[in-house]
Symmetry: C2
Subunit: 219 residues, 2 copies
């Protein structure tokens, strides 16, 4: 069985890989708020347990086994967040920290019951998929907004990262899941994008932001 510490490493590896693709020791140590040597030594232990592929000075990658275990933790995290908000009426600002703790609880029945009470959800309120009981993550076939073309109309399906800064950014612009967005133009200069949606007209979004927004094409 994995320790709480190991679970946190796996989760961080999984999340960083999802956002940034590659994971290096620096990123991981920032994410976990630990010093680099600490991370190096732990990663080696995870490698011995066949949870990560590790070669000195190379990027870190989860093994299939590692992905599965990480998926299971993220499943528990996302189910917990939904449960806390939907069933316990706690505020979104509170639930993340609580879910970070509850996700480590060892009890299959507990999470199965949550799943049942929530009606077996497939995605969480950020549009992120909830991994299945085997830790498998099925991302629907979404596109990054940054990969779309001018003239297309798309529906906002998910946000890739859920830092509070980014969520505030979206909030300030009245952007929410399900929103229909019409792409007016893409600036060749910096890949920023000009869109219409709701009552707003000719809003500009940076490429950085667009890379974190997943959309479904209409049609």
């Amino acid at each position: 069985m994995n320790s709480l510490t190991e679970e946190n490493y796996l989760k961080a590896l999984f999340n960083i890989a999802n956002i940034a693709g590659e994971v290096n020791v620096t990123e991981l140590s920032k994410n976990l708020d630990l010093k680099m040597p600490t991370v190096t030594s732990m990663v080696k232990k995870l490698a011995e347990k066949k949870l990560v592929h590790y070669e000195s000075y190379k990027p870190l990658r989860l093994t299939e086994k590692g992905k599965r275990e990480a998926g299971l933790i993220i499943r528990k995290h996302r189910l917990t967040e939904m449960f806390l908000v939907d069933k316990m009426k706690l505020g979104w600002e509170d639930v993340h920290d609580i879910a970070e703790q509850i996700e480590h609880i060892k009890s299959p029945v507990f999470f199965e019951k949550m799943d049942e009470l929530l009606g077996y959800p497939k995605v969480d309120p950020h549009g992120s998929p909830i991994p299945d009981k085997n830790g498998k993550v099925v991302w629907k076939d979404y596109n990054k907004l940054s990969d779309c073309n001018a003239g297309e109309t798309v529906k906002l399906a998910a946000v890739i990262n859920t830092s509070s800064e980014f969520l505030k950014f979206l909030n300030a612009r009245e952007m929410h899941l399900g929103l229909r967005i019409k792409i007016k133009a893409i600036e060749p200069f910096d890949k920023s994008i000009v869109i219409n949606y709701g009552k707003r007209h000719a809003e500009t979004l940076s490429n950085v932001a667009c890379e974190r927004l997943l959309v479904e094409k209409e049609g």
Copy 2:
């Protein structure tokens, strides 16, 4: 802030004291499933933190501060058990182990919300009091069944310990909280007691059992 380990020591000290009165190192180490030297050294640390009174070779006692902290943990444990059973419809056989984990979660709002959803209960389903927000335990003025006299009629109000063996014992005899019990006789020989209740007639209970049953006298 106390570590998870420390919290478990405090809770065990509290529970043993409640059941057995005095706590010695042997009992505590059995309860925590640790070796005695481990317990001795931890208890000394707790003493430095002013959580227990410690003198070599003397029984262990929680300080007021220690009682308060233990009470807060037990509050979280009991609220959690009730929440899991009443609101999540989990079985009693499952909830203890889950509550043992959830009781360590750091989040005032989480437990306040549980309390609210449960309607601010004062006792748990075993009749044990739920400590208040300051960790204070208010046992209602119950009597041990073993301290009652022949001829009295009493109502079963609480069970002091909740080991599964004891609960099964009670179950097998169709005894439950709220039950009216008429005391027919007390054997001077071994202090065992003869009672009538429900459809049962002249059942005998040992003194050991009677010491763990709290009753309210009918007035």
